[in-house]
């Protein structure tokens, strides 16, 4: 009964599965998102075949860029390195994140919501602060951890320093794990796990499955929408993250595919966008696998957990709970303490991590940042952009996801593929493509240079993650809940606002927060569109980072601190209001409303007895 429902439009005439409204809405969606998502991609790809010297020269078609890009012999090694690194940190982070999400969402654990939130914080912290922080700890020669270990009697300082060396493949893996690899997955998975129906787990327990087996055979398989989305969102970006590898891999001549793409853009002047595009096109192959794979996975089985007979409740791990709790707290300490120290401590240090300078401590960075004539304005712009994004994008994408999952309108596969296609080109190229689109599209050029252009970009930049995650959330919701509302006389909008929105609210809060972070941290996508009047904190931070006078890491850190601080506040507020909705497994405190129920027993008893006694 799951996939048979058709969204019934408010108009009177409805054709089976293909209402005119549906066709119309889909046409609008596909055209709007198509222009916005695919047009820049196409422009970028077309441009990669253009070898004309100058922008204003006529198009000169050639495969040169592609030939040259792929003629680099070291590319193959880089590709292999990419997969090795990805495989290693994913095969660690995925299981770890799954277990943590399960512990947080499915078991009775003290402060599980706060612990979950700490993973959000870890996600918000800029990856570069994490990487740099760990270099100070695990540098083979001066790393604090290594220095401590040398004090142990049985550990000799080797020629190469050590025992830990962050500049190594294990070091890169470690940095990934400490940055986003774990926290992002925990963050994305936990709300989905919260939608688990306890009775399904109970049925497995009674059938003779242990807690672990229940998790593996019942909880995880029914969480396939969320798990697969998280996995796929990561793998389509496999060629896009490069910061960690750049910092830690360069000194040991360890290159990955993304550093190669990145180098075409950063090492060349003019940047070799054409060759970078050619390299990035490999992502298309991944997308070509991901789209049908996801469709197959999601259609193959049903994953409805929140139905009309939903039973809330959590698993009691007994004393194991404390072991799990301790491990999570320890991991969180690793994940957050280092970058937070780097950011906060570093902001007061002349040079973060350096204690042997003439002036170790200084307020200069704070003065510089706060004294920056663009700071206040950037702060304001960021607040406007991020807050609008945090509110609008969950709403927008929840409707798109609804259309994708819950209707049988034509063209859903196209729309869904469009969203995946948006991952085809890395951020820097995408930003350029967007610039071209804004300048080349009559409607859009009107808002070019205004904050509305940025708004449009930041609202839409989280489109892939948002739609896919919300899709996953919808798949967990029983259609009977909507049907009951429709029969009760609620139109589509009311059903959406009273039933769906509250039910998927935890996911929406998450999406809102992610989009808030994304837009607060946006650089590549908006740098070409922002002007002085619309600078954001993130662009300010980027300017500090690329300062020719040496990277003003400390000042960039201060700006990041503002971004993180803002995000934490917003996320806390959103959670405060949003997480009250959705399904809850702990008993809601009905304290303020308890009064009528209190009066219950006698009154009810009398009442019912009266009814029965006749």
């Amino acid at each position: 009964m799951l996939r048979t429902a058709t969204l019934v439009s408010r108009s009177k005439a409805v054709i089976r599965g293909q209402s005119p409204t549906g066709t119309f809405v889909m046409a609008v969606f596909i055209i709007v998102f198509g222009v916005y998502i695919i047009y820049p991609v196409i422009l970028i790809f077309i441009n990669s075949f253009n070898v004309a010297e100058r922008v204003r020269d006529p198009f000169v078609f050639s495969f040169d860029n592609w030939r040259m890009a792929f003629s680099d012999a070291s590319l193959f090694v880089a590709l292999r390195n990419t997969f090795v690194v990805y495989f290693l940190y994913t095969s660690i982070s995925f299981p770890v994140a799954i277990v943590i999400a399960w512990l947080l969402a499915r078991t009775k654990m003290k402060f599980s919501y706060s612990l979950e939130f700490m993973f959000w914080v870890s996600f918000m912290l800029p990856g570069i602060a994490v990487t740099i922080g760990w270099t100070y700890l695990l540098d083979p020669h001066i790393g604090f951890v290594n220095q401590l270990l040398w004090k142990l009697p049985f550990l000799e300082r080797g020629f190469d320093g050590g025992p830990f060396n962050i500049y190594s493949v294990p070091g890169i893996i470690w940095a990934h794990l400490m940055a986003n690899a774990i926290s992002q997955k925990v963050m994305l998975l936990t709300p989905a796990f919260r939608n688990m129906d306890l009775s399904m787990e109970e049925a497995a327990r009674v059938s003779g499955a242990s807690n672990v087996r229940t998790m593996i055979r019942v909880t995880l398989p029914v969480m396939v929408p969320a798990l697969s989305v998280v996995f796929m969102l990561n793998i389509v970006r496999i060629f896009q993250s490069f910061e960690t590898e750049q910092i830690l891999g360069t000194p040991i001549n360890f290159y990955v595919y993304s550093t190669k793409i990145f180098q075409f853009i950063r090492y060349f002047d003019p940047p070799e966008y054409g060759q970078a595009t050619a390299l990035a096109s490999l992502t298309l192959i991944i997308i070509a696998v991901v789209i049908p794979l996801q469709r197959w996975l999601l259609n193959r089985r049903r994953y409805t957990t929140v139905t009309g007979s939903f039973r809330p409740g959590l698993i009691d791990l007994g004393s194991w709970q404390w072991v799990a709790w301790g491990s999570i707290v320890f991991l969180l300490a690793l994940l957050t303490v280092v970058p937070v120290l780097v950011l906060i401590g570093g902001s007061f240090m002349t040079r973060v991590g350096w204690f042997n300078l003439n002036d170790v401590w200084t307020l200069k960075h704070w003065q510089d940042v706060l004294g920056d004539r663009f700071f206040l304005q950037a702060f304001r712009t960021t607040v406007i952009l991020s807050t609008s994004t945090a509110i609008i994008s969950p709403l927008l994408f929840s409707i798109v996801a609804y259309v994708l999952v819950r209707t049988r309108w034509p063209g859903r596969a196209i729309l869904d593929s469009l969203f995946w296609m948006s991952a085809a080109i890395p951020g820097m190229l995408a930003g350029l493509g967007l610039l071209w689109v804004f300048l080349g599209t009559p409607g859009l050029i009107a808002i070019y240079g205004t904050i509305f252009a940025l708004l449009l970009v930041v609202i839409l930049q989280g489109k892939l993650t948002s739609t896919q995650l919300i899709k996953g959330a919808y798949l967990q919701m029983g259609l009977d809940l909507e049907e009951a509302a429709r029969v009760a006389g609620a139109g589509w909008l009311r059903t959406y606002f009273r039933i769906w929105l509250p039910l998927i609210m935890p996911t929406l809060v998450l999406i809102g927060t992610i989009n808030f972070v994304l837009s607060a941290q946006a650089t590549a996508s908006i740098i070409l569109l922002a002007s002085r009047g619309t600078t954001t904190l993130s662009i300010l931070a980027l300017e500090k980072m690329t300062h020719a006078d040496g990277t003003l890491l400390e000042q960039a850190g201060i700006v990041s601190l503002f971004i993180v601080g803002m995000t934490v506040v917003v996320a806390l507020i959103a959670r405060r209001f949003g997480l009250v909705l959705g399904v809850r497994h702990d008993v809601r405190s009905t304290a303020p409303n308890a009064a009528p129920a209190d009066a219950g027993p006698q009154g009810i008893a009398a009442n019912q007895a009266g009814g029965l006694g006749r």
Binding site: R54, R56, Q246, L248, R351, E543, G550
Partner: protein, 388 residues
């Protein structure tokens, strides 16, 4: 009245190559010859008209790249105070700014007036695209046009056609090599680049990635001096040098004593660490045998074609190259201005050209840019052979 700047068609006339890249040899293009000292009155009138026209426009959109970008506040305030014109300045990467400006121009959007920045992006992209305007008609202030005020005896032109780019930065450099004073207590053991590729420095050299365009300003130097065979190949082949991911990492490793030498421009980062009392020097105290250089770095100014505020741009150009603009520039971060009629008190000593040294000016070579490209190609082909 405003006097819209005519769009200059890029001249097809090849510019005569400058015979030597040495100083004082700046071409004496007749058109660039300063106008004979005008009577005060006509200039004053023209200047007043310009200021008035600029004030009418009321605003200047500037892109200030590189080091000056974050230190530009003093200029903004002074310009505002002098003329009551607001400067709206942006900073960031030249490459991205070029992407943006060129895309805008293709769409008929003209949003930028002036730009200060390096030569590479300008020469490889802005000039060929016709995005810049001929500066010579715009340069009117006698103070600017007077060759005696300038180090090379004339304005320094950064483009082969000598009409679009004026350079005003003039830091001297003995060699783009920084070192750790504890590991290399006596820097005089190095008298030539070739001295670097000695066994005692194996594993002691950290470098920026020479394949990166941003490090490439000095590259042609190695090839004109024949250093590629004697210095570069052994350097990559034998020295087990380590490429740092960025200048900060390189400078810190140098200061930590992990490496004795840092090559390929670790300069400014090292300077900061030196100021903090760490045992590093950003320069050798002596020039190397192959010669010392002077370059404008990222300190050149140019005006956009079809600038939205042409008069403000013209005013800013003349003011910026004048004593006030240049003094503020020197103050901003201790760089040396090519302007010599102003006090040099605020210039970091290492940046000042020393007496009695004949400095090479690689960027004065009209073929400089193509030499950089060739050099980058060479590096990009060579390094992988040695495992980089």
């Amino acid at each position: 009245g405003s006097d819209p700047t005519p769009t200059p068609e890029p001249t097809a006339t090849p510019v005569p190559p400058t015979p030597t890249p040495t100083a004082m040899a700046m071409a004496d293009d007749p058109t660039a010859t300063p106008v004979p000292e005008p009577t005060a009155d006509p200039f004053e009138a023209e200047w007043d008209a310009l200021v008035a026209a600029a004030q009418e426009e009321g605003r200047l959109d500037a892109f200030i790249c590189c080091a000056l970008g974050r230190e530009f506040d003093a200029h903004i305030d002074a310009f505002q105070e002098n003329f009551g014109i607001e400067i709206v300045s942006a900073t960031g990467s030249s490459r991205q700014q070029a992407d943006r400006v060129l895309a805008e121009r293709a769409a008929g959007v003209y949003s930028l007036d002036v730009w200060t920045g390096g030569l590479t992006t300008t020469n490889t992209r802005l000039v060929p695209e016709g995005a810049l305007t001929d500066l010579r008609p715009l340069l009117i202030h006698p103070d600017v046009l007077d060759g005696d005020n300038w180090y090379f005896g004339d304005l320094f032109w950064g483009d082969p056609e000598m009409k679009y780019i004026v350079g005003y930065g003039g830091n001297a450099s003995n060699a783009p090599i920084a070192y750790n004073t504890e590991l290399l207590p006596d820097p005089t053991v190095i008298q030539s680049y070739v001295d670097l590729v000695k066994p005692e420095f194996v594993g002691k050299i950290v470098m920026r990635d020479p394949r990166e365009a941003g490090t490439a300003n000095n590259h042609p130097f190695y090839f004109t001096q024949g250093l590629d065979e004697t210095y570069l190949i052994p350097l990559f082949r034998d020295m087990e040098g380590v490429i740092a991911s960025d200048a900060r990492q390189a400078a810190e490793w140098l200061a930590q004593g992990r490496f004795a030498l840092c090559i390929f421009s670790c300069g400014t980062e090292v300077e900061e660490l030196k100021e903090q009392g760490l045992p590093v020097q950003d320069q050798f105290p002596h020039p190397l045998k192959e010669g010392a250089t002077i370059g404008t770095g990222g300190n050149n100014i140019f005006v956009m074609d079809q600038a939205p505020h042409p008069n403000a741009a013209k005013l800013f150009l003349n003011w910026m190259l004048g004593p006030e603009g240049q003094t503020l520039y020197q103050e901003s971060n201790g760089d040396n201005s090519l302007r010599i009629d102003i006090s040099k008190d605020n210039v970091v000593s290492g940046n000042l050209p020393a007496e009695g040294i004949e400095y090479l000016v690689p960027s004065a070579d009209p073929g400089h840019q193509s030499k950089i490209d060739d050099a980058l190609d060479w590096f990009r082909a060579e390094l992988p052979k040695h495992g980089y």
